[in-house]
Symmetry: C2
Subunit: 440 residues, 2 copies
Amino acid sequence: MSMDEMEDFRKTHYTKDIIPELIGKEVILGGWVQNYRDLGGLKFIILQDKFAERQITLKKGVVSNDLFDVKVGYQWNIMVKGIVKEFKKAPGGIEIIPSQIKILNKTPQKLPIDMTGETVSELDIRLDNRVLDLRSKKNQAIFRIRSEVINSIREFLLKNNFTEITTPKIIASATEGGTELFPIIYFEEEAFLSQSAQLYKEQLCSVFENVFEISPAFRAEKSHTKRHLCEIFTLDVEMAFANMQDVLKLLEEMIQFIIKDIREKRLDDLKILNMENKTIVPKIPFPRYTYKEIIEKISTEFNINVEFGEDISTEAYRKLGEVLPGYYFIIDWPTSSKPFYIIPYKDKPELTESFDLQKGYLELTSGGTRVHNKEYLEKRLEEKDLNPISFESHLRMFDFGMPPHAGAGLGIDRFITVLCGLDDIREAVMYPRTPDRLTP
Amino acid sequence: MSMDEMEDFRKTHYTKDIIPELIGKEVILGGWVQNYRDLGGLKFIILQDKFAERQITLKKGVVSNDLFDVKVGYQWNIMVKGIVKEFKKAPGGIEIIPSQIKILNKTPQKLPIDMTGETVSELDIRLDNRVLDLRSKKNQAIFRIRSEVINSIREFLLKNNFTEITTPKIIASATEGGTELFPIIYFEEEAFLSQSAQLYKEQLCSVFENVFEISPAFRAEKSHTKRHLCEIFTLDVEMAFANMQDVLKLLEEMIQFIIKDIREKRLDDLKILNMENKTIVPKIPFPRYTYKEIIEKISTEFNINVEFGEDISTEAYRKLGEVLPGYYFIIDWPTSSKPFYIIPYKDKPELTESFDLQKGYLELTSGGTRVHNKEYLEKRLEEKDLNPISFESHLRMFDFGMPPHAGAGLGIDRFITVLCGLDDIREAVMYPRTPDRLTP
């Protein structure tokens, strides 16, 4: 297959930048052949780049014969030099009359997935050919929204005096106590991949007060559901001089801010995903239900019995999501079901100052008020059958004036799943990792 | 040790927000006791929070006797309710006359590191007590600069139409060919921690064109130098329809932009670090030297012989840094010393379109033009004694119209080391990971 060299060709514009003011001007575009048609004396190439599409029109006699005879195929990578021309019938009212086309890379005649959008290929085949798959209109919309959400989170937190932290992903001890960790061979020592920035963000709120991190976290859960991944992307927030109530307020304001932002900047993408009437700005405050109220509701309304202290089953959550389709908090979870760093209520030690943020059936966030007194934290570790000695380097930081603090972790992939109305969390991630998938 | 509860106390302001307009108003501050003095009938507490300090003044007869008798210690965590008062002799011309002080957490009488700044404790002791250490003026300056640099990188790249990507850190095959990787036990399979986003960023520039990622990367190097870490924080950039020359231009513009930004927003922090006359905006373009020119220079000027194809020794780099103290590129490295994905020159196959960006003796960045033709990439893998079958899922992405592309990786920790004039890279990271250090 002979291909052209790029040489000194450089894009002068993206497709989105080809505005009426450029009519009559020469431009160079680059991208992929989304579609092409041959009507005999007239040929069209629809060129797609990272932003949008433009029509390239080749008319016999108008362009050189050599150029008219250029062959292209679906998703070939090309660059086009040409003049911008007004043409009412072309998409956007503009076409490009080319003077030169460079074929930079080709594709096999049969592509492994359908790029016309007429049929949707199976997700595993799409993931195996992810680069091609990501060029679809739907995926372009999903990942533009994802990018905007991450920016929006940063904007909201930075303007609220949060400091962005970066904490290690290779850790010596288990945050929550040992399960669901990936072991690493760290020279001659055993180490683990971090499940969450929990301990580090707590430590750092004793320096920078309000802190956040957006980073990967790793969960060795052999779950084959549409809600679980082995490598997730999470937001961790922690606030000094704060308790659970302050975190609930922060989170609902943040979610409202993000959705406002997405609707303002990415409404076209929500429309591509048919979510423009579903991903709407939620009213705040979000309803708060206690764990006790929720298990009573589940028992009364769906006849599913949950003993105090038990987890709520997926089935019960699904039913709950039908009657509570919006955002809501479940607060005051049993002490037995929460990790050592969550504080029990003084007057009701069987309950903790903890919460989950739900969107319908899906848990997006867990958090709560933390223990900030060192002696009490040691006691809590022992009550959870954990050895304080394994947490020595963490506990030491509680010697230096640890403030009262509270925080939460938000699963960004799950949040994208919700915002984009996706059926499977793997669609919210460029390269998902599951127990069965390590490539591409 | 009896301590107070925070209860409904909430900070109304940070220290930095206590401006003359607030004189006469009641405020609540929170933070740590940086210093305190007892002059008999007069006591001062210097309260430090994430931004700055304020003086709390307790005068016998002015404040209640109970309050006057409150005991505090270094780095205790406290909240103070009081009235803002003008007082010319106080730092910033303002003092706080307290009506209530809450002691939220205490410290041992003897702190493990000196917080007055008079003596500098050994780095390992500082790292063992990192929370305390991070409250020092110097560290506050370093990490404010670090945070600003990361923001500045994002701002520069987003405004240049780059897309922020998130790629997996658990990978199935070795990017560069197998050395220096941390193995993970991934259920029943072998996997590794990602050394760089190299393969993924190349794939994604075939979708999003210009892409970047700021993320951790993992290097199992048993180096005990002041320049190496086992977990680093890197910027990966990749540009479609571009070659090395475009990346050189992008990088020098980005570095100029970042330093301008830091000088504008964080000049006070540069002053704390005595770097205000050293971290200055560099002129662009940066000088470009070929590898051949550099090894000749090393031979002529320092009498150190480097055979063509050999690495440049640390000693030679140190000498080079003395005569080339600024930013400069070393381009056109030998094909034998560069990974398979770097493209050799057509007319001189012993050299590649590759570069390092140096600041004095320190390498900050490596990059170059990549191979975008699949057959050629397979050939390059074989020439490097790598098995194309191990790279099957990566190679497949080259079937779908991969554009010509080029890119680079920048070590953010090293860059911070340079900008802040630090002696040891561990000072540029909140929680460094080295062969000997996995905690805190």
